[in-house]
Amino acid sequence: MIKKILFIFFILMGWQAAQAQVAVIAHKAVPVDQISSAELLDFYTGDIKLWGNDEAVIVFDLKPKGEVKEVFYKYLGKSPSRMKSVWMKKLLSGEGDPPESMKTEKELLEKVMETPGSIGFVAEDKVTDDVKVLAVITREEG
């Protein structure tokens, strides 16, 4: 019996470790409930700057490199350095501003909570009821 419980425990632990879940979060009042990777990319590249209700899309990024950021950018299909060059091009063309980068996920969560029209990403286990979850990104390891 103990062996069976231990087996199930280790399987569950292994499953947990093999997955990194990142939540795409937005301010509670944004006019959508879910978002595709293509739409998310349009927001993060600045191709789309307004929500359907004409409110500005305010994009937040995470400063430190880490698994959450890696999973998120992989989902977008661009590396962080490639995204930086996209933002630099927008900035130097007068077409938009790079997103504000937060030092921690907690800071990012609070910023999204208090900024109308904002969107960001944090680890799923950090999400609270004060923000809207538009997508959950799961990456299974190797």
Binding site: S36, A38, L41, D42, D47, I48, K49, L50, D54, A56, G77, K78, S79, S81, R82, K84, S85, M88, K89, L91, L92, S93, G94
Partner: protein, 396 residues
């Protein structure tokens, strides 16, 4: 028709400007820019066997940007090239852009004011040196060469009204478009005849680009139509009484571009062809014009660059440019004009290293071959030179 266009544009701007104050989103004025300093070494050639080394502040741009409201923003770009100094009369300084734009959403943005129009892949960002891996850009885009190369013959330099945007046509596919209006450049170079270079009395510059983006792949075709006074130097030389027939020759530019960039590779290629209305002596009694009839004037340029990211901040690339110019060449009063055919072949390679978010280091080698044939072997020049350059592009 022109009055209709003028009043149409004016009414449109008045209507949409009513939204300016009604929307939030105003942000403080931002001032930023960049400069690129280079060191170049010219290794000499058969004609000039002396080597030359030069430090050069190739370019500096200062931007002023202001989000006036959620949908309105303004942008001003001052550009200085080649160690600009008014006291020493070096280089040049100019107001490159000053525009206001209105975002209708993803489908359309309207820009009004002095701006660099969209043409192929590189034209609109040609002077943004921190974005480009080159020390010396493909020649028709190299602002620091404008004293020696007629850059604006190949690509449009400025427009005054541009509508652009994109339409999604699938999950990762987008249809891009841009249409613009501007002046035919330098129609008037004489201040005694009104404002110089800004005359739309006879014609506009009309142009645009349509393109497709599929993920990291981008392609498009571009075109412009305007009129040019390329031949005033000829009329001045011969003191031809009427300049008008030379000032209004139709000019057509056609371009195609293809580019791709991901985390491992970058590729970009462009083709540009410029053709001009043929000379005609109809209704004129000038012998000079008769002599020019039948001669060709045609410009073409293409370049391709293939780069590989050795490691994320380090890009190595190989590049090749080629230009072809065919124009009438004046030998002397007895023999008149003959065809001059000039070819420029520039293979090269280089690297760029993104030292930090704000500093990009660059190095480049170019082997420049100039081949000139005047009058079918009457005069021939075939000259090859080697250029080495290194630069730092700094964003501030």
């Amino acid at each position: 028709m022109k009055k209709f266009i003028f009043f149409g544009i004016l009414s449109f701007l008045i209507i949409i400007s009513s939204n300016v104050c009604a929307q939030s989103g105003e942000k403080p004025l931002r001032i930023f820019g960049y400069f690129q300093n280079e060191f170049s070494h010219f290794a000499g050639n058969a004609v000039h066997n002396d080597t030359r080394n030069t430090f050069n502040l190739q370019q500096m741009n200062v931007f002023f940007q202001k989000n006036i409201s959620l949908k309105w923003s303004a942008f001003v770009n001052f550009e200085m090239v080649n160690n600009f100094s008014s006291s020493k009369q070096w280089g040049s300084a100019k107001l490159e852009e000053a525009w206001v734009k209105y975002d209708f959403g993803k489908a359309a943005t309207l820009r009004a004011g002095l701006q660099i129009p969209t043409f192929n892949n590189l034209n609109a960002i040609k002077n943004r040196t921190p974005l480009l891996p080159y020390v010396v850009r493909p020649i028709v885009y190299e602002a620091s060469f404008e004293e020696v190369v007629t850059l604006e013959e190949f690509v449009p330099g400025r427009a005054f009204l541009q509508l652009y945007g994109f339409m999604p046509i699938g999950k990762y596919k987008k249809f891009d478009y841009a249409v613009y209006l501007g002046n035919s450049p330098n129609i008037n170079n004489f201040s005694t005849r009104g404002q110089t270079g800004v005359d739309t009395t006879n014609t506009f510059l009309v142009g645009g680009r349509v393109g497709l983006r599929v993920g990291d792949l981008k392609m498009g075709v571009s075109g412009t139509m305007d009129k040019t006074n390329l031949f005033t130097r000829i009329t001045n030389f011969f003191n031809v009484p009427s300049l008008e027939p030379f000032e209004k020759r139709d000019r057509f530019r056609v371009g195609a571009d293809l580019s791709f960039q991901n985390d491992m590779f970058m590729f970009e290629a462009e083709y540009i062809d410029v053709s001009y209305e043929e000379y005609s002596s109809d209704g004129l009694n000038a012998n000079v014009i008769d002599r020019l009839e039948g001669f060709e004037l045609d410009l073409a340029f293409y370049y391709a660059t293939l780069g590989f990211y050795v490691k994320e901040p380090l890009l190595v690339y190989g590049t090749y440019w080629r230009s072809r110019t065919i124009e009438p060449y004046f030998l002397d009063l007895q023999r008149g004009f003959v065809d001059e055919r000039e070819r420029l072949n520039v293979p090269g390679f280089g690297f760029s290293y993104q030292l930090s978010d704000r500093v990009r280091l660059k190095a480049q080698y170019a082997r420049v071959n100039v081949n000139v044939d005047i009058g079918g072997n009457m005069i021939k020049v075939d000259n090859t030179s080697n250029f080495y350059s290194a630069a730092a592009s700094v964003f501030f």
